[in-house]
């Protein structure tokens, strides 16, 4: 069960090798979390992540999960929920793709969309049903500021996050009053493996900062969390810029 500060005792991470997710799990294990499920494609990286968390004192198990295989989501998540309550599901999988390359190879672009959006729709709905049945729990969805406004540099990724974001907001409204809390997290540019070698955007942040913001959001039962918080104001302005102006901005 979550405590009065929204801190979970058991976690399920969808996308168990995500750096942001693991930073969040480390933070929560230092508080109340004792049981962690890492869901992802079986890989040495997944096992290494599990081993590292065990070293912090958590009871960690892995489960095979592939965002691109929605047919398998019920079975994978069903296995986890059959073992006991899950207080928090962290939906953290996603790929950035290579915009220039993907524009030329539409099937690659589709893969980005299927991972980030279709896979999340399936996994999110399956997780939501299980959480609703247990009458409590949080679903934390890692969205992105990229979904707020299409940018020339990453609109394929951005559009998939826009879809995910809208889906998660609607799911949060659908679950209002069921004891289940949905929180959409919109980080800006996060310094991580995903963005390695890329030019840093203004207000860049770290996985640890996102983890801190998630813990605060859980305590406040927030519905939307921007990381860093200043992005809420910045993006509000950006959203209202005329297209002709936005197109010319060096972003």
């Amino acid at each position: 069960m979550k405590d009065a500060f929204g801190l979970p005792q058991s976690l399920l991470v969808l996308g168990g090798t995500s750096e942001i997710a693991l930073a969040t799990v480390r933070r929560l294990v230092a508080r109340r979390t004792r049981t962690v499920w890492l869901a992802g494609r079986p890989s040495p990286a997944l096992d290494a992540a599990a081993g590292q968390l065990r070293g912090l004192g958590a009871e960690v198990r892995t489960v095979a999960f592939d965002a691109l295989d929605p047919e398998g989501h019920e079975a994978a998540l069903g296995k986890v929920f059959a073992e006991g309550d899950i207080d928090l599901v962290l939906l953290a999988f996603g790929i950035l793709g290579d915009q220039a390359h993907d524009e030329r190879e539409p099937l690659n672009a589709v893969r980005v969309a299927q991972t980030n959006y279709t896979g999340a729709v399936s996994a999110g709905l399956v997780a939501a049903r299980s959480l609703q049945a247990q009458g409590h729990g949080s679903l934390v969805v890692l969205s992105s500021v990229a979904g707020e406004r299409a940018r020339r540099a990453n609109f394929i990724y951005g559009s998939s996050k826009a879809g995910l974001d809208t889906f998660a907001q609607g799911l949060g409204d659908a679950l209002h009053g069921t004891g289940v809390h949905v929180m959409v997290v919109r980080p800006g540019f996060v310094r991580s493996r995903m963005t390695e070698g890329m030019a840093e955007a203004p207000l860049a942040t770290t996985p640890e900062a996102v983890a801190t913001a998630i813990e605060l959001g859980l305590r406040r039962r927030s519905e939307t969390v921007w990381v860093p918080g200043a992005l809420r104001v910045v993006m509000s302005a950006v959203r209202h810029l005329p297209r002709a102006v936005f197109r010319r901005l060096p972003v």
């Binding site: 247990q134 009053g177 004891g179 305590r219």
Partner: protein, 457 residues
């Protein structure tokens, strides 16, 4: 009424009085014992838990995804033995209702907490205490017998001195649903209290006064200003007294005319939505300063109504909303006699941390009662409310828990919403007995609550 009448039921979200950690449950409202039995029989895989008036601060009367049995429709007072001083009533009867019925007959509830709006079932489940603990012990000491609906659908009569009684007293509703109870009452001549008030300049002064003179009073409590620092750390107002005898009332007064009339007053309810942060260090500091200064340096034998003396907050319905949407946690712990140093350390830490708490109460407990998970043990207990949104509060209270556990003390489960489960066994040495009895009595785990899940009770 046939045994299969289905009780009212509706899904809804539930929180404790602190309004943190909401969860959804099927709210079932049995109107008869048979309906309660049906509700327990049909409560499904995620079990059920009885709920009274929802004054437990944390998650003791919540059951995510399962059933919550609202017992307040079972609220009959069956019989009062006016000569012998006992009452037989349903578990859903509130202490407020009991006072309305009993005071005109010259009897008072044996133990009352800081609110009248708790049910008899809840009072037994939490084994509540009052300002008279050092004299009268906790609530279940005054229970002559009770009827318990257990997981197998049977109704058992449970008497003190049996393991089932000791597991149920303070057992947080996890042994079954209490249906009725017979209570031994306290005789009174009037519905007024004779109250002595004095100020203590600091914590040591306060503890010395309580230690030296507590035995002279039936009721005793101290309000502490936890925002006071330096030499004033732990300054307090002591309020102590007893039921006023008839000859203490002024002649020809209205009170003399109807000495046993139970009078209360209620202000309009607190609005449903208030912004968080109303209770900041500044506002609470100001309140505490005024509260301390306005208390008389010393006053003797002042007459007060029962409601004013015992239940000042009951005059403000839904006062818990003052803490805003984020809610609040109440932290109450006890450390034994001889562990005063731990108490001093904790009070100093809370003062240094500047927690905005305007309800901080210190009292001395007397002898413990046998409930396995019953909270009171002889020693010092401090209770305080803190807004849940205070940054770093969780980690800070974890540190206080360590101090409490190291001193052999414990925190109160009826108020808990955040204890680290690993500390529970150290705080409650009879926890294993409790778990064993529950496993035998309720092998399918029919009775369960969010508290039970969180702390693995």
């Amino acid at each position: 009424m046939s045994a299969d009448t289905v009780p009212d039921a509706d899904w809804g979200t539930v929180t404790g009085w602190g309004r943190t950690a909401p969860t959804a449950a099927l709210l079932v409202r049995p109107r008869t014992y048979e309906e309660a039995a049906v509700a327990v029989r049909d409560c499904g895989a995620r079990g059920g838990i009885a709920r009274g008036l929802g004054r437990a601060y944390g998650d003791a009367a919540q059951n995510a995804g399962g059933a919550v049995l609202d017992m307040t429709a079972l609220d009959r007072v069956h019989a009062v033995d006016v000569a012998g001083g006992t009452v037989l009533c349903d578990a859903g009867v509130s202490l407020h209702r009991l006072m309305e019925v009993l005071l005109p007959l010259g009897w008072f509830v044996p133990v009352t907490p800081g609110t009248r709006y708790v049910t008899v079932g809840g009072a037994i489940g939490a084994d509540i205490h009052g300002k008279n603990h050092h004299v009268s012990g906790s609530f279940t000491r005054h229970v002559v017998s009770l009827e318990l609906l257990t997981a197998d659908g049977r109704v058992r009569t449970v008497a003190p001195g049996t393991p089932l009684f000791d597991a149920t007293a303070g057992g947080m509703g996890l042994t079954g649903v209490i249906l009725t109870a017979t209570l031994r009452l306290q005789p009174v001549e009037t519905a007024l209290m004779s109250v002595d008030t004095e100020r203590a300049g600091d914590l040591d002064d306060l503890m010395a006064r309580l230690t030296a003179t507590d035995h002279r009073y039936r009721y005793s409590v101290a309000w502490i200003d936890l925002l006071a620092r330096g030499r004033a750390t732990g300054r307090a107002v002591l309020t102590r007294g007893d039921h006023a005898p008839l000859d203490a009332l002024p002649a020809r007064s209205r009170a003399r005319h109807a000495p046993l009339a139970f009078r209360t007053s209620r202000l309009p309810a607190t609005p449903d939505f208030l912004p968080g942060g109303l209770l900041s260090r500044t506002t609470v500091g100001l309140f505490n300063e005024v509260w301390y200064r306005k208390a008389p340096r010393e006053s003797r034998g002042r007459l007060q109504r029962i409601a004013t003396f015992f239940h000042p907050l009951d005059g403000v319905p839904h006062w818990n909303r003052v803490y805003g949407r984020g809610g609040f946690v109440q932290y109450q712990f006890v450390v034994g006699h001889g562990r005063e140093e731990a108490l001093r350390r904790i009070v100093r830490r809370i003062s240094a941390r500047r927690c905005p708490s305007f309800l901080a109460v210190l009292k001395r407990f007397g002898a413990a009662d046998p409930g396995w998970l019953s909270f009171p043990v002889p020693g010092w207990t401090l209770a305080l409310d803190i807004p849940a949104g205070l940054p770093g509060l969780g980690a800070f209270l974890d540190e206080l828990d360590e101090e409490v556990a190291d001193a052999g003390g414990r925190v109160y489960l009826a108020k808990d919403s955040r204890l680290r489960p690993e500390l529970l066994a150290a705080m409650y040495p009879r926890l294993d007995d409790f778990r064993t009895l529950r496993a035998e009595l309720d092998p399918r785990g029919v009775f369960v609550s969010d508290l039970a899940r969180r702390l693995a009770l």
